[in-house]
Subunit: 444 residues, 2 copies
């Protein structure tokens, strides 16, 4: 890599080009992100046009912006001509409006209409993911005719292994794989070898649902239809891989109380990072101050036995951890489609039982430690251990239920993860602790 | 669905079969999970053999176990004959040893050797994921010969769209897509149209690395080679989709302090769930009791101002949340390959700056609330707010660093998530709080 950069610095462009062409377009794109932008531009311009377009589609949007800002209109058109349609859309979505206008003006009528249509699909919809590079056949064609049609039109089709059979209204009637076609007799009709049991999605379906279907049915491509069941595009599995990772990343962030950040951590500036974190921290901090009022209400009991304060952190942390274990499992189960709203009673019972087992073990260990090793009085030991048991039990059940409640109210279940559960569990744990302490210390 | 079950109960098997055949094999498999097992068995046996094998590959392993336990050896052999090789391996891996022996005994010499070899690849390795259904070509073949070879041997090949070019030692020399072949002139040699810049993996590579390559290079299939670069199998993208989801689920669990559970939540029994949660809860509870000792050390200062105890929960929660925000972003960044060990200084600086911004805002809001609304004394307000600022700052930096430290010591960075960070941050926060309180209250 350094070698290529050195060659460019010595103006040995032919050699640099030969080295570049040994690499995968993905790796070339990564390489071009490294050196100063002017050098990248030179390297990019010496690439053959079709490889250049491929490399371009793997670049970051900042890099793409820099490149299109510094090459001629003719060069831009030549890249766009060679880009797959879905990559063109991805690229245009990230560009400033005046640039998109310029591209649309330079495109022919047909392409312009298509680009406009695709750019208008909502973000995260099936429509925004699809590409138009597919082969369409008619069911009355013979295998011979189909093969001829494929050879005439097929070279740039991204997912050549599946062909789509449509009628005169462009409605989807079947799919047939290229394998099936070339293994069939030349006079067989397409309608006799096509598959009619097709899994498809609508343009406005959410990308998460699309990804779930890909996983469930082990698909490589999926047709996208409009309201009249007309085939408008297809989605390929490589875009689904990215979506699954994105959706998981989003859930990780929401579950940690972060407003989702789209860019990679290292590429996000400090102010954005701070802005995306401060919201939940503020909300949670203010809710946590209500726990201060609980403690204040029991100031007398605390005054009479300051030692009680020493066990507050342990009680709170254990409750928070126990609760977030349950909420995490349920949130993930919902995300994977394994848990539905009607499973709520199964979950309550499961969490109650798990809570009893886990709570008993934790309280037991704690009792041994406090009473026998730390030599704490029996009253305080009992207060701590009984509170611990009920805190864990309550945390488990609350952690198991809240994500499902959120789902029922159409709120993202991921919000009900550790931070929020911890705050709720804390307030409840402290209340249990001090009421128990008042009663037990009063008796003794 | 109920309709099909009703038909079976009325012994109308032909009608039930006709209804079943309208469905996707994945949906049939799900349907067969529902009714009592004997009914499922009848439904399964009335399916045509090739569809039956397909349905079988989508069943849960309990269901598979039940089916093979209740059908004849001949039926088992006929299913195994029709199963894809990777599905056979997946199935055998879940079966008891005596059953696997029986299958191996019934297989022919060649298959037996292959099955043995594949069953011996470590779990989570590339070898355990691969299938042997691929088309291999020689580079000296013409397109005409290649097409003939494909037609003769190709029908059951799972990923027909890519063919693999190997030499006489079975070493991988190139790949060529079926699209390229049928669009080329019949006399062209395979070596002139094959791609030699190939991304491949070794049999013992970890599945997470394999998935990362699929995502990076937008692949549909990837060849797997042994130490002598001989082609031994291929991995298809549908298996990768499952792995990405599994790996994310595992990270979610580890980050919530749960020992990873493989089965779905609802299918896991209470004892297993409890066992997988108790370990970390115990460790964290015992570490949290050390914070009790910190509080005890400052019992005097607490006695003189019990109000101080009221702000402990808020301080701890905010610190914990601030820390887990940072650790989550860094852990996810490492998992996606966006953050490397050498980025540690960039992360420290970023988190310091974010911590200063976030800490200032939180301390400021808290100051306004405590001093002006709650009318707390200036000394205590100052103690709380200054502690809050430093706690947030420290939590951010610790949360950002620890996952990278874990990585350097080859520990899964996901372990350094909220529960552990919270425990560490708590102890530090309380120390800051009480030292500050001692000094400020002493002066005033």
């Amino acid at each position: 890599m350094q070698q290529i950069i050195d060659l460019v610095e010595q103006n040995q462009y032919t050699k640099a080009r030969a080295e570049l062409l040994k690499m995968n377009p993905v790796d070339i794109a990564h390489l071009l992100e490294k050196p100063p932008l002017e050098k990248s531009l030179i390297l990019f311009r010496i690439l053959p046009k079709d490889i250049g377009a491929d490399v371009f589609s793997y670049m970051s949007s900042e890099q793409q912006k820099y490149i299109v800002g510094n090459i001629t209109d003719k060069e831009i058109r030549s890249i766009l001509d060679k880009l797959y349609f879905d990559d063109t859309i991805d690229f245009l979505e990230e560009m400033p409006a005046n640039f998109v206008k310029k591209v649309l003006k330079n495109a022919d009528e047909n392409t312009r209409q298509l680009l406009n249509q695709f750019l208008n699909y909502p973000e995260n919809s099936a429509g925004s993911l699809m590409t138009i590079e597919f082969v369409d056949l008619k069911k009355e064609m013979t295998v011979r005719e189909a093969l001829k049609h494929i050879k005439e039109t097929g070279f740039d089709k991204e997912t050549f292994d599946t062909c789509y059979v449509i009628n005169d209204q462009r409605q989807l009637e079947g799919i047939v794989t290229i394998r099936r076609i070339i293994l069939s007799d030349e006079d067989v009709l397409i309608k006799d070898i096509m598959e009619t049991n097709i899994t498809y999605v609508h343009t406005l379906d959410d990308q998460e649902d699309v990804a779930a279907k890909f996983i469930k049915y082990d698909l490589m491509t999926m047709p996208v239809v409009d309201n009249e069941k007309r085939l408008v595009g297809i989605i390929t599995v490589d875009d689904i891989l990215d979506i699954i990772e994105e959706e998981a990343t989003e859930d990780f962030q929401i579950m940690a109380g972060i407003a989702p950040v789209e860019d990679a951590y290292l590429k996000t500036d400090v102010l954005t990072l701070a802005k995306h974190r401060i919201g939940w921290l503020l909300i949670l901090m203010i809710s946590a101050t209500f726990t201060a009022n609980i403690v204040k209400r029991f100031e007398d009991i605390l005054q009479s036995s300051v030692l009680l304060a020493a066990f507050i952190p342990m009680l709170m942390d254990t409750g928070g951890n126990a609760g977030s274990q349950s909420s995490t499992l349920v949130i993930r189960g919902i995300a994977l489609g394994e848990i539905e709203s009607h499973d709520i009673f199964k979950i309550i019972i499961k969490e109650l039982l798990v809570g009893i087992i886990v709570g008993t073990v934790l309280a037991g260990v704690n009792f041994l430690r406090l009473y026998f090793i730390e030599k704490v009085t029996l009253t305080i030991t009992a207060t701590v251990c009984i509170s611990l048991f009920f805190t864990v039990l309550m945390a488990k059940v609350v952690g198991g239920i809240l994500p499902l409640v959120a789902k029922r109210f159409n709120v993202d279940p991921a919000i009900m993860a550790s931070p929020l559960i911890t705050t709720i569990v804390d307030a409840a744990a402290l209340t249990i602790y001090f009421i128990l302490a008042s009663n037990l210390l009063h008796i003794s």
